[in-house]
């Protein structure tokens, strides 16, 4: 069975991981209240989606 000849150093391992990044969510403005919201989802601050009230926010 072929096997790796050398252990990959922490440096090489960490260099590989430099491309592991979290991306920022693509937010858009709510057409009802102007807050930032995720697209295709009801606005968490006003509870509106597509011009209709889906739920009444608690606060």
């Amino acid at each position: 069975m072929p096997n790796p000849k050398r252990k990959w150093s922490k440096s090489r391992r960490d260099k590989r991981r430099t491309h592991y990044k979290a991306s920022a969510p693509a937010l858009s403005t709510c057409s009802n209240c102007g807050e930032m919201k995720l697209s295709h989802r009801a606005c968490p601050s006003c509870g509106y989606y597509a011009g209709k009230s889906i739920f009444i926010p608690e606060s």
Partner: protein, 182 residues
């Protein structure tokens, strides 16, 4: 290849899945609007749409077919009377699913599934609005109650001192005078 693969098993055995969907269908029929995970809402949709289509024709046979998948007599009644009446001639598409975002805890996609014909009527009497009013009124009540509680506590201490007065008369009189001054 995804050939002839249909629906979502939602990670449950057949019997567990049947029970879950039955419970969700009952909840949706009785409340007209339920909040659940997006996957469960989408698994429920074809089931409930088929039920409503069947409920348009009220017959003993149709009621029995529905009762196979809903174990709630009240829900079957409302489905055939209230919901079937309101849906009328709508040719399918009785439900609406709106995504709400991720749930804190397990990051599950949460959605609201509601009956389209009841979407406005349910919002007019939200339970959350009542809690708002309670929050506004309760602080006033709490302060009153706390004052009453304080008064009761003072009275209790006085009573205790009176009980002590049987043994030590001189000390209690002075303590009671102090309490009254307070």
């Amino acid at each position: 290849m995804r050939h002839r693969v249909k629906g979502n098993k939602i990670g449950r055995t057949a019997s567990h899945r049947k029970a879950t969907l039955s419970s969700l269908a009952t909840g949706l029929i009785l409340n007209k609007k339920i909040k659940t995970t997006d996957a469960k809402a989408r698994a429920l949709r074809p089931l409930i749409e088929g039920m409503i289509t069947r409920a348009k024709v009220d017959s003993v046979h149709n009621r029995r077919i529905i009762s196979e998948s809903i174990n709630d007599k009240e829900a079957v009644k409302t489905l055939f009377s209230e919901i079937a009446e309101k849906v009328g001639d709508r040719p399918g598409g009785y439900t609406r699913i709106v995504k709400l975002g991720k749930r804190q805890g397990d990051a599950a996609d949460i959605a609201i599934i509601e009956l389209v014909d009841f979407s406005g009527s349910v919002e007019k009497k939200p339970v959350k609005k009542r809690t708002k009013k309670e929050e506004v009124t309760t602080p006033v009540k709490e302060t009153e109650e706390s004052e009453i509680k304080d008064a009761e506590v003072i009275e209790e201490t006085v009573v205790e001192t009176k009980e002590e007065s049987t043994t030590e008369a001189d000390d209690t009189e002075s303590s009671q005078q102090e309490k009254k001054d307070e």
